[in-house]
Subunit: 335 residues, 2 copies
């Protein structure tokens, strides 16, 4: 029996009232506020409604609500060059005093001269050399702290803001909305896993163990002082791009996603693999159509080329986000 | 203002009463009921109390409460042979009719003859051959369903129960207790990741994306019918044992654990890596001392050899679980 005095009952009632008001407000808040009320926003909301409704034939248990997102060009910008490659270039400049030989060796000379044409001419071998020189030969912890410092200090040349300010606000909202509905969100990106993990938690709400990416060989060693440590070696271990994406999903997640979002042909196999699962699926592409607020590029771009995947998305009815038309806001510049 | 009639208030009071009683009962329930009230149980409870107390100098935020567990010999039994190897042997027998050449080829002949000595004589090359013949040449999904069938039908020779009945009840309780206190639990095992993922969620409460293990190469292909699929190739990709364990932890989790549990020298580097982190850490070893209820083995055993790690645990004050003395119950035979 409830025998509390009137004052306690009144206080309880007031608390319950506040609680209920908050619940109602939260339920009424429109999800995805940075999305225009166009097709893609509605497609997302419909999909989430159907897979989370226990009475629906499309219901998916929470443990199987796996959502995967490419990073470069899907969660943050990738122009004029991949941000991680800008990091590598900045590292070459910082390390140059210790490497006088770079003044006469390609592709380092090209970078130090700011000669992007000569850098491009060095091809894949040149790029791999730059990555090895800047991403290896140190412990994983040392590398992490170098990335942290760069993220704090570096600025994007066009927007003059930290690179983490160039994440797409609508995508941050989408991932948060999915998590609120029992999804587990993962990054599945061609970018380096040790690089992305330094900001994914803070910027996207994605913890390190949910970041899948490309990686170099790492070796376990005990230092001369007896400290166990992990050393980054210069050899490539895994390229999480193209057909590597479904392989990475299987290796790291072990379940086929029910939602996948990408922006380029490098995401095609991930989208196909997601689409081929049983039951309702959501496949999304970010189409860069907004030269004013961001960039406009697709079939002819060297970075984030979107050609085959655009055709397949159109043929198969995947959701294509037209950045200019579908996003109210592009960047979350507050970072 | 609360203006509900007396009947509603009465119902509300009754509900609140039931809820409170349940909360109190839950708070009072002794954790880890299958553990005797000896040192290891107390060490676990003390550790969890300290890292979860926000007022403690040892407090660890939930996101960093990473706990890793070896599987064979730590979470389930591993005698008389690793269960996954028994699976491989059973598969050789099942596939033999399609492979008449196995009647005259080692190590398959040895397996078909039940000649474990000849099998052992085939060495690592023989073992790798058996694993390749039974774990590759099919899609990941097909392999998964073969594992499922085996787990359903196979029985352990000594206990005459399914292999999943031979998981250690005290360890299941420990992982559940850690999760209730905000930890994220992972398996980090030399066992095959595609094998363990088939039962880890049901038996241990660990989802596929939190299972780290050894793996073979997997390739993405589109079938003749146009279906994207992942094919298991016969080459080894990653051996998650010994120094491979900290490498696997870095690759899949990206954070250093604060608690690690193993049972053999193959876990030594994982325990050392965990111990070397800053702040309070928990390193545990399951010592197989109970020939009656389970098995008794350590330094001289071919399977689960525990020698160097036992010395280091003693020298460094890690927690050593004496199965006979510290566990009230060994197996959760209900599986």
């Amino acid at each position: 029996m409830l025998t509390a005095p009137a004052s306690v009952r009144k206080a309880l009632a007031a608390s319950l009232g506040v609680l209920c008001a908050a619940l109602v407000a939260s339920a009424r808040a429109e999800p995805l506020p940075s999305w225009n009320d166009t097709g893609p926003r509605q497609a997302v909301v419909d999909f989430v409604d159907r897979v989370t409704d226990e009475g629906s034939a499309d219901f998916v248990p929470p443990a199987e609500r796996i959502a995967v997102f490419d990073n470069d060009g899907t969660l943050w910008a990738e122009q004029p060059i991949y941000f991680q490659f800008q990091f590598a270039i900045d590292r070459v400049a910082a390390l140059a005093p210790q490497h006088p030989e770079w003044e006469t060796t390609q592709p380092f000379k090209a970078i130090l001269d700011g000669d992007l044409e000569a850098l491009a001419a060095s091809g894949e071998k040149g790029i791999v050399g730059v990555m090895a020189a800047t991403h290896a030969g140190m412990t994983t912890e040392k590398f992490g702290s170098i990335v942290d410092s760069w993220l704090e200090g570096a600025e994007h040349p066009r927007f003059e803001r930290p690179y983490t300010a160039l994440v797409y606000q609508p995508m941050v909202e989408l991932m948060s909305y999915l998590r609120e509905h029992g999804f587990k969100t993962f990054i599945v990106s061609g970018g380096g896993v040790e690089f992305m993990r330094r900001f994914a938690e803070r910027v996207y709400g994605i913890p390190p163990e949910q970041v899948v990416g490309s990686s170099g060989i790492v070796r376990y060693e005990v230092s001369a002082e007896g400290a166990p440590q992990l050393l980054k070696a210069p050899e490539v271990e895994f390229v999480d791009d193209g057909p590597g994406k479904p392989v990475g999903i299987n290796r790291f997640i072990g379940r086929r996603p029910i939602l996948a979002f990408g922006n380029s042909d490098g995401d095609l196999e991930m989208l196909q693999y997601t689409a081929a699962g049983e039951g309702l699926r959501f496949m999304g592409l970010v189409h860069h159509t907004d030269a004013e607020r961001e960039w406009a590029y697709d079939r002819a771009s060297h970075i984030g080329k979107l050609d085959k995947a655009l055709d397949e998305a159109k043929a198969d009815g995947w959701t294509i986000v037209d950045m200019k038309a579908d996003w109210k806001t592009v960047f979350s510049l507050s970072q």
